[in-house]
């Protein structure tokens, strides 16, 4: 690994000012929660940060608290803690599906939501959009794992499991920076390549994700995270579905369905959501939902398999919720 300077901080304020200080010295900065992915990138040379700000000892940013209809989750909560938190199923299941126990013991919510893409071009050091270059090698190359929604000019799939779950829950993303804290909704937090192909989220330099805020789930709310992987564990989603429904008996009152593993950002299925409202989750309805989900899919030369997988995954997620 190249030499870098590690700074241990014990508060978010300290983290932000350390980052600001380093930047003003002309140094590049990375925030580190669990650090698993960051270290990998530093070793591979796809991250060349001069300064690493270690957030492991930060207090006050890993707790879960509820007040007046919202639940705030500190961004430095580990995935293991989150998976055992008793919060919404879609969120705990998504957290439990990441990596392995060793990874979940240190990896954080913030780190998972803001991880860089796992595209094999980017991670193998190609000078693509994600590395600050000006092309996407997957377009005419090996794109088996790339996006069927929202692609162009980059076609990476958003790598996070928590992101679609949080988006489905209507979470807002709490960002801390030199100018203080601000709340950002999912639409504004996640950035499509058509807006800026170099980034996946709207964090500015010196800013970090310090938490999320969710509306406390309604009593009649059910949720589920369905993840399809190429082996039984330790892999990013080929396709995933985060679904939150509120039910009135057997009728869907509201639906929030967000895809992972297939799009450049967490992909909300607004047409499917509208379709389901007022309907029962019968086999026909569920099948139609699956079809509607893929109506807008635009496969590349080698990822057409993601299309039937997506409709199957949407159907199965809804069936899982229907059967309780």
């Amino acid at each position: 690994m190249k030499a870098f300077t590690n700074i241990n901080v014990s508060s978010i304020d300290e983290a932000v000012s350390a980052a600001t200080q380093a930047s003003s010295n002309g140094q590049s900065v990375a925030f580190s929660g669990g650090g698993t992915d960051l270290l990998q990138q530093l070793k591979d040379g796809t991250d060349t940060s001069d300064v690493v700000i270690n957030l492991r000892n930060v207090d006050g940013a890993k707790e879960i608290s509820s007040a007046s209809g919202t639940t705030r989750i500190g961004g430095l909560i580990t995935l293991d803690e989150l998976s055992n938190s008793g919060l919404n199923d879609v969120l705990t299941q998504a957290a439990a599906s990441v990596g392995t126990p060793q990874i979940r013991n240190v990896a954080t919510l913030s780190g998972n939501v803001t991880q860089r893409p796992w595209c094999w071009y980017y991670r193998n050091g190609f000078n693509c959009y994600k590395a600050g270059g000006d092309e996407c090698f997957s377009v005419t190359g090996e794109n088996q794992q790339h996006a069927i929604y929202g692609g162009g000019p980059s076609y990476i799939v958003h790598p996070s499991d928590l992101a679609p779950a949080l988006a489905a829950l209507g979470a807002s993303f709490i960002v801390a920076g030199p100018d203080g804290e601000r709340n950002v909704n999912a639409n504004d937090f996640f950035v499509m390549p058509s807006q800026d192909p170099a980034r996946e989220n709207s964090l500015a330099s010196g800013e970090l994700l310090v938490g999320v805020s969710l509306p406390t789930p309604a009593a009649n709310s059910v949720s589920h995270y369905h993840k399809i992987m190429d082996r039984e564990a330790w892999t990013h989603a080929e396709v995933s579905v985060a679904a939150v429904l509120t039910m009135s008996g057997e009728i869907v009152e509201s639906a929030s369905i967000v895809l992972g593993g297939v799009a450049t950002v967490p992909w909300k299925l607004t047409a499917v959501e509208s379709y389901l409202v007022g309907r029962q989750l019968s086999a026909d309805v569920v099948t139609m939902a699956g079809q509607m989900a893929i109506a807008g899919a635009r496969p590349l030369a080698k990822n057409a398999h993601k299309v039937p997988m997506t409709s199957a995954a949407v159907e199965r997620t809804l069936l899982a919720l229907a059967n309780g």
Partner: protein, 211 residues
């Protein structure tokens, strides 16, 4: 047709006498091995040829012993354990959190030591494979690995043992599915998975709550 299922002889007599040697020698036994030991202790060997990069002093408690080590920011915990503390039982298989060979127990939880910077582990309690046997006695899961052919090439074995040890301290009698879930972050290319799972289940069945 022979009876192959002789659980009582599965610890062969040579292993029994080996265990007795361990018991009599105590926890700090320097055990004879077939390979002549040419190395000398790290501190003496390296003192004249160290790099001049900036270092931070950290404290680590490893297998119950306190250590003060001067480390570069970029050194990983596994490098420090192996190179500075001479605890080479923990292996580096990939250095990328993709294989699990470097698993240690840090502050009670199994983690990939290749992906912890030493400076992040300042003040931590760490257990490595060298810390499992106690008073010359193998731990129940080590013993089960010996009997059920847990190690083939043996390279993933320390990592598997550490994760299994952490599991057994939280769930004393796991079934095979629970073992697989807990150990999923430890690969074995010899693909000795079935024997490893059997051994961990067996260790749980035997020892109940003891680890």
């Amino acid at each position: 047709m022979g009876d192959k299922n002789k659980a009582d002889t599965s610890l062969n007599p040579k292993q029994r006498s080996r265990r007795e040697f361990l018991e009599s020698a105590g926890t700090t036994a320097a055990l004879a091995s077939a390979v002549p030991v040419l190395g000398i202790s790290t501190a003496q060997a390296q003192s004249d040829i160290e790099s001049t990069a900036a270092k931070t002093r950290i404290q680590l408690t490893v297998n119950g012993s306190r250590h003060s080590v001067d480390v570069e920011d970029r050194w990983t915990l596994v490098e420090v354990l192996r190179d500075q503390l001479d605890l080479t039982g923990t292996k580096i298989g990939c250095d990328r959190s993709e294989c699990g060979a470097c698993t240690v127990i840090m502050n009670g939880k199994p983690v990939y030591s290749c992906s912890q910077l030493a400076v992040w582990a300042d003040g931590a309690q760490v257990t490595t494979v060298e810390g499992l046997a106690s008073g010359g006695q193998l731990s129940p899961v080590q013993q089960a690995f010996v009997e059920n052919n847990g190690p083939q090439c043996g390279f993933c074995t320390p990592g598997q043992l550490m994760t299994a040890t952490a599991l057994l301290s939280n769930n004393a009698t796991p079934n095979a599915d629970e073992v697989k879930q807990a150990l999923v972050g430890n690969l074995c290319r010899c693909s000795n998975y079935n024997a490893i799972v059997e051994a961990v289940v067996m260790a749980g069945e035997r020892s109940g709550s003891a680890v």
